[in-house]
């Protein structure tokens, strides 16, 4: 546990030096939401889609950042060195997840706050919107950790995002209500975590309470745990 925290604080120290990345992580979702609010000013579009995007943008940003960060560890040789120290594989993955979860909390607070400031209305409890947005970001970060194991180069790492996120994006109910989709796609959407993230946000914007979204939130948490386990399982001490 102490090595997990040590690793998390090391990752945060790295982020502290990289202010531009932090500004992008927190500022970019705000910028995109701002553009949307401006474009659809005076319509109900922001109320309808805003909460979903508040959950989606952080997920994508965090996925990219963590998959590149772990690839960097692999290529710089630091991961190889870490694998010769008492650091356990779970410490490494959990350390990263924890550090980025902290950043995700700040991100979701700022992004939700900004969305409200530019006129988004949420009928459900706001703290739940923040919680789901943060869980989405953590999910993105854990999926990124797991996906980076599949990437052998920067080119592959960057494309893991469209490869893993876009199919979920298409079937999650954002483009078309899920009950109108072809049956097979609807089944497919049920095994993707993003579906539950979007569903929870949709319900919250329509006035749902904790009891209504607890199921979806539970599924997101399960996917986070699953992604962490996958990330640990795909990490290899011995490499070619």
């Amino acid at each position: 546990m102490t090595l997990t925290l040590t690793t998390a604080s090391r990752v945060l120290a790295q982020l502290r030096f990289d202010r531009r990345t932090v500004v992008l992580i927190i500022g970019l979702p705000c910028l995109l939401l701002g553009l949307l609010a401006w474009m659809f000013d005076g319509t109900g579009v922001l109320d309808q889609f805003g909460p979903m995007l508040v959950g989606l943008f952080p997920l994508i940003v965090m996925f990219l950042v963590t998959s590149v960060a772990t690839l960097r560890e692999r290529q710089s040789g630091t991961l190889e060195r870490l694998m010769t120290t008492p650091l356990r594989k779970a410490d490494f993955v959990a350390g990263y997840a924890l550090a980025f979860a902290g950043l995700a909390l700040v991100q979701s607070l700022v992004v939700v706050g900004f969305a409200l400031a530019v006129g988004m209305n949420v009928l459900g409890p706001l703290w739940l919107v923040v919680v789901v947005a943060m869980l989405d970001a953590v999910l993105g970060c854990c999926l990124g950790l797991a996906a980076s194991a599949l990437a052998r180069s920067e080119f592959q790492a960057v494309q893991m995002m469209p490869a893993i996120i876009f199919p979920q994006l298409i079937t999650c109910g954002l483009l078309m209500p899920r009950d109108q989709m072809p049956q097979v796609l609807e089944w497919l959407s049920r095994v993707f975590p993003l579906t539950y993230a979007i569903e929870a946000m949709q319900d919250l914007s329509a006035g749902a309470e904790w009891a209504d979204v607890s199921g979806a939130v539970g599924v997101i948490v399960l996917f986070i745990v699953g992604a962490v386990v996958l990330g640990v399982a795909t990490l290899r001490r011995r490499t070619a």
Binding site: T2, L3, T6, T7, R10, A13, Q14, F17, D18, S76, G77, T78, E80, R81, L82, M83, T84, T85, P86, L87, R236, R237, R238, T239, A240
Partner: protein
């Protein structure tokens, strides 16, 4: 031999990389408390052997025993320090932040970690650079930070892959003096190099070529047996002896 006298024992090691054997049937013994030089041209399998010793090399067959345990065993991870060929430290952190992280990973508590960091900075002569970001250091300084990150945990066995590449002669001499001091304190050092001059600073030499052991000797024995004036020419002599045993008549004019 008693186990305590042997830091690393390699028997019948075979490693494949990219579908071909890089090391094929290697037997090596590294005595404890000595500086053992692993010498050979690039591509001879030095890094692969070192990676097998620290337990990060895949596709390994044969037997590698380190400090009495199988290579890579969890119990070894605080007893073995490894420095990769390319500097493996975080370039976006300062010298002290890097060393502090590796000190804590080695299990040193807060105050102990700070003292160990100070000692490691001193050992690699990086005083004055403590708060500097590693990415802004010179190449030689960078590799010293990488070395310090292994020293900071004070391991019993140090596995160093070309730690003196790109360093000036004064610093190289100082580092080798430090290696000698560490060995005098009972640490074992397995140091690879392709600079043959450094051979004379070792207690024992392992000469590697194309994944096989060309010689396991001492610096004086090497010069004596080959009659060569320095390690580099001794190495060439050994290769010529190996490659042309049948054409030796032509060689003696």
């Amino acid at each position: 031999m008693v186990n305590n006298d042997v830091a690393v024992r390699v028997r019948g090691l075979r490693v494949e990389r990219g579908g071909r054997p890089v090391i094929d049937g290697l037997d090596v013994v590294v005595p404890a408390g000595q500086v053992v030089g692993l010498l050979g041209p690039s591509g001879s399998g030095k890094t692969t052997l070192l990676r097998a010793v620290v337990g990060v090399q895949a596709a390994v067959t044969g037997d590698v025993t380190v400090l009495g345990e199988p290579a890579g065993a969890a119990g070894l991870r605080h007893r073995v320090g490894y420095v990769t060929q390319a500097a493996s430290v975080y370039t976006d952190l300062t010298v002290v932040q890097n060393l502090r992280y590796f000190a804590r990973l080695a299990g040193l508590p807060g105050a102990g970690a700070e003292a160990a960091v100070r000692r490691a900075v001193e050992a690699v002569d990086l005083g004055g650079h403590e708060k500097q970001r590693v990415g802004t250091l010179s190449g030689g300084e960078l590799s010293r930070v990488s070395l310090a990150a292994a020293l900071v945990g004070d391991p019993e066995l140090l596995v160093l892959d070309e730690p003196t590449v790109g360093l000036d002669p004064v610093l190289r001499r100082d580092l080798w003096n430090m290696f000698r001091r560490l060995a005098a304190d009972g640490r074992t050092l397995l140091v690879s190099s392709h600079v043959m001059d450094e051979a004379t600073r070792c207690d024992r030499l392992l000469l590697l070529r194309e994944g096989t052991l060309l010689a396991d000797t001492t610096p004086s024995e090497l010069l004596e047996s080959t009659g060569a004036p320095d390690a580099e020419r001794a190495f060439l002599t050994l290769i010529e002896q190996r490659e042309a045993p049948t054409t030796s008549e032509e060689g003696t004019r």
